[in-house]
Amino acid sequence: MKQTFLLIMLAVSLGLAAASPAQSGESPSETRLKAAYLYNFAKFIHWPEESFANTESPLIIGVLGATPLAKELPPLTARKVRNRAIEIRQFDKVEEATGCHILYISPSFNKGLRPALEQLSTKPIVTVGDQGNFTALGGVIQFVTRRDRLRFIIHLAVARENSIKIDAQLLSLAVEVVGREK
């Protein structure tokens, strides 16, 4: 009986050796999901009028530091948020980024997250990041992973300091809202 079994195994192995099933299957794109989040954040966030040159000027989404997310952002430029076009910009230095509305700070940005966030504080910018201490260091929105899903926490006090208004609907979807007034 054992011989029979071994023969079957052997035959199957040989017979199939020629076949080469390619294991493909695109891995789910977390960065694409982040891009969609950034677009959605924009819909629920209100910036002070001064942050726009005029009623026609675009909403600027910036990326600080190299990140694969940069590749996923161009499709956003085809969309509009409250009648404003979306513009995508890539920055290497914090000083350059002061004019944008949403700024994603890549984990690869190695010139110091804390000084960067300090430099950007009180400016009407929604900083977004992945680092575990992002909101603790003064960031506005931090991505977190909960149950294998991409979620976010919001630091409301920082948002207020930056003169940014966040809709209650967005707040209600956050895993946690830090610095909410009691």
């Binding site: 079994f5 493909s24 789910p28 694409r32 891009a35 969609a36 992973t145 294998d148 899903r149 895993v175």
Partner: protein, 670 residues
């Protein structure tokens, strides 16, 4: 998940099989994804590259894990069948609805040295210290993993985890979103049906429910080849809800309800004043429900506590006994790191079991109703030394039960990571099995002596019974080369004392006593190999030798417990499983098992002079993914022999042969 934190992490484990249940939106292009709103984005499951792999290589114990993919590929239709692949376990089907499952010897319907838990809920029956496998209803598709730890786990899990623990862990509700319907039928598997649906209840809460049904046909008797009348039906329903509260808390609430009907032939059945054995066609009615809640609070990455509570009710009626149990269990665990090198975990537990028996002439337990309490506490410290190259784990459990008082079960474990490829571990531990209600205060009619007026021999419980004790010495070696080859070897030496035996007060009255000591040693080997991406193979081998000494082999001693213990375990077992991805959508799974002969498969087999022959079993199935969401499986089990005997039930049930099974199953996810 680390070995040292079994219960806490059941709530935090992440599914290995994420991709199968993803919503379609995941496959959306960048453009399409932009059209989704926030709540839809929040439903999309991602696989994070940084997720910590379960590192079994770092566990100083003999651990084997059956993951969902393996479970699915094996083509099994129940948990006991899946356990056949685990090295060191002895799994034998006694009839269509009865199993003898043990770890490292002492098999039988009353295998009492193996603890089994489903999501942290013990399913070990305290009346006879064993598991009624026919009433354990779990949706196989919802199982995340089955962890099997051979050897004592008493330090963490408590009494009765003498020779092993089986932890059946189901997926979190967040990992079973969407619908699943599976329907199958075959000659032996009359109906396999499952409906499960999971959905996001609100932004932080996920839930699922299931309905299932499993009907099995009967086998045939060894003697006449006639119908063994052992068909069964099991219907179940249940739910699980998992939620998060902020960043630091998560909780689980789950419950199940089941109702089973099984048939059995009982022979011999004895009645008062008659020496003649009767044969009765009996039915087993079993039903039960349970509800479990768990709250976990993460103070930090290295500081976590959890509180778990469950209620479990089971009811089982058979001709010779009706049993009803209600269990309340509370469990608290806290794990934290201190001084960088210490990973400490401690916990407290309380269990309250109320039983209610309906005695018969055949079996009685006195008093018929009793409530027993169990208090327990444990502490374990895992100390990391030499840059984490060596880990020394020291721990003990202390518990108090109503039968034997205080039991102390310590263990010491040492793991040496020579390098990332080679690991060595060794351990010494003590474990006990506490007496069951039957052993404490039961009465069983064995049968008449062959002399007029044919009075009957009875076995009586003994309230002086103490716990069975084990000191176990284990050592293991693991080797892994990338993900393509791994080898896991364990050797053990078990030193038992105060094992259950029988003592004859006179010709007619027998008592349970702690009358036997003994030892066992063995080797368990598990090798995995993936020569090319589309072929995987696993070879498992187990060897065991048991040797028992009756403490007082006085004249007139009729007990044969020692020779049964020595001869009821197959000495050699081999399992060879392989999977072939024939194409992107078709997978062939082949599983061959060799089980050595069982010279004396229990008391009844000894009396009848039945020996269980060695056998080779072959299971083959082919799974075809017709579409992304629809799978068709054709399976054949026990293909080499039309019928074979695996074990003989010790009491009442005549020897039954396991037959061939062919079935076809469709699984649709939506």
């Amino acid at each position: 998940m680390s070995f040292s934190l079994p219960k806490l992490h059941t709530g935090g484990i992440v599914s290995l099989c994420l991709l199968t249940l993803l919503p379609h939106s995941l496959w959306a292009t960048g453009e399409e994804m932009l059209d989704l709103d926030l709540s839809q984005l929040m439903e999309i499951q991602i696989t994070s590259a940084g997720r910590k792999e379960q590192n079994l290589a770092d566990v100083a114990a003999a651990v084997y894990v059956i993951d969902q993919e393996t479970l699915h590929s094996s083509g099994v239709t129940s948990i006991p069948e899946a356990l056949r692949m685990v090295p060191g376990l002895q799994v034998a089907r006694m009839s269509s609805n009865k199993w003898a499952i043990t770890s490292r010897g002492f098999n039988g319907i009353f295998s009492n040295k193996l603890l089994v838990q489903i999501d942290g809920r013990s399913v070990y029956t305290p009346s006879y210290s064993g598991v009624y496998w026919d009433s354990q209803n779990v949706v196989l598709e919802d199982i995340e993993r089955i962890e099997v730890i051979r050897g004592p786990g008493a330090t963490l899990w408590g009494a009765n985890a003498v020779n092993g623990i089986i932890n059946i862990i189901t997926k979190q509700a967040s990992d079973t979103q969407g619908g699943l319907v599976s329907a199958g039928a075959g000659n032996q598997e009359k109906i396999i049906g499952t409906l499960r649906y999971g959905s996001q209840l609100n932004k932080d809460t996920y839930g699922r429910f299931y309905l299932n049904r499993h009907d099995q046909d009967s086998y045939q008797l060894l003697a006449e080849g006639s119908d063994a009348n052992d068909a069964s039906e099991l219907t179940g329903a249940g739910f699980r809800v998992d939620g998060d509260v902020g960043l630091q808390n998560n909780w689980t609430l789950q419950g199940d309800l089941y109702q089973g009907d099984g048939n059995q032939i009982l022979a011999p059945v004895w009645i008062p004043d008659s020496p003649l054995p009767l044969t009765v066609n009996d039915s087993i009615e079993n039903n039960g429900y349970n509800l479990l809640g768990r709250w976990q609070h993460n103070i930090s990455e290295t500081n976590t506590w959890s509180l778990q509570a469950y209620f479990d009710a089971t009811d089982r009626k058979e001709q010779y006994l009706a049993q009803n149990f209600k269990t309340v269990d509370l469990d608290f665990q806290h794990r934290f790191q201190f001084l960088e090198q210490h990973d400490l975990i401690w916990g407290l537990g309380y269990r309250n079991v109320s039983d209610d028996f309906t005695n018969t002439y055949m079996i009685g337990i006195v008093p018929e109703q009793e409530t027993s309490e169990l208090f327990s506490g444990f502490i374990q410290d895992e100390i990391s030394l030499f840059d984490d190259r060596v880990r020394f784990t020291l721990g003990t459990k202390i518990e108090h039960n109503d039968f034997t008082g205080v039991e102390i079960q310590p263990s010491a474990r040492l793991l040496w990571s020579v390098n990332s490829a080679h690991k060595l571990w060794t351990s010494i531990s003590r474990a006990v099995r506490t007496p069951s209600r039957i052993e404490d205060s039961g009465r069983i009619v064995l049968g008449p002596i062959p002399v007029p007026p044919y009075p009957k021999i009875k076995v009586y419980g003994n309230s002086e019974m103490e716990s069975e004790e084990l000191i176990a010495y284990e050592a293991g070696y693991r080797f892994s080369q990338g993900s393509n080859f791994s080898l896991d070897t364990t050797v053990f030496y078990n030193d038992y004392s105060k094992l259950l035996d029988y003592s004859y007060a006179d010709m007619l009255n027998v008592y349970f006593i702690n009358g036997m000591s003994g030892h066992s040693y063995g080797l368990e080997l598990s090798g995995r190999w993936r020569p090319v991406s589309w072929i995987s193979a696993e070879l498992n081998y187990s060897f065991i030798e048991l040797s028992m000494d009756p403490l007082s082999p006085a004249a007139g001693r009729f007990s044969i417990s020692d020779i049964i213990a020595e001869n009821s375990t197959p000495q050699h077992q081999i399992s060879l499983r392989s999977s072939f991805d024939l194409s992107e959508t078709v997978r062939l799974n082949v599983w061959a098992r060799y089980v050595d002969k069982v010279k004396i498969a229990g008391q009844a087999a000894y009396s009848a002079g039945i020996e269980v022959d060695q056998h080779v079993a072959l299971d083959v199935n082919i799974a075809w993914k017709v579409t992304e969401t629809l799978e068709l499986m054709l399976a054949g089990q026990n293909l080499l022999e039309s019928n074979h005997l695996e074990f003989v039930n010790e009491y009442f049930v005549p020897p039954t042969e396991v037959g061939q099974s062919f079935y076809c199953k469709l699984t649709w996810e939506f």
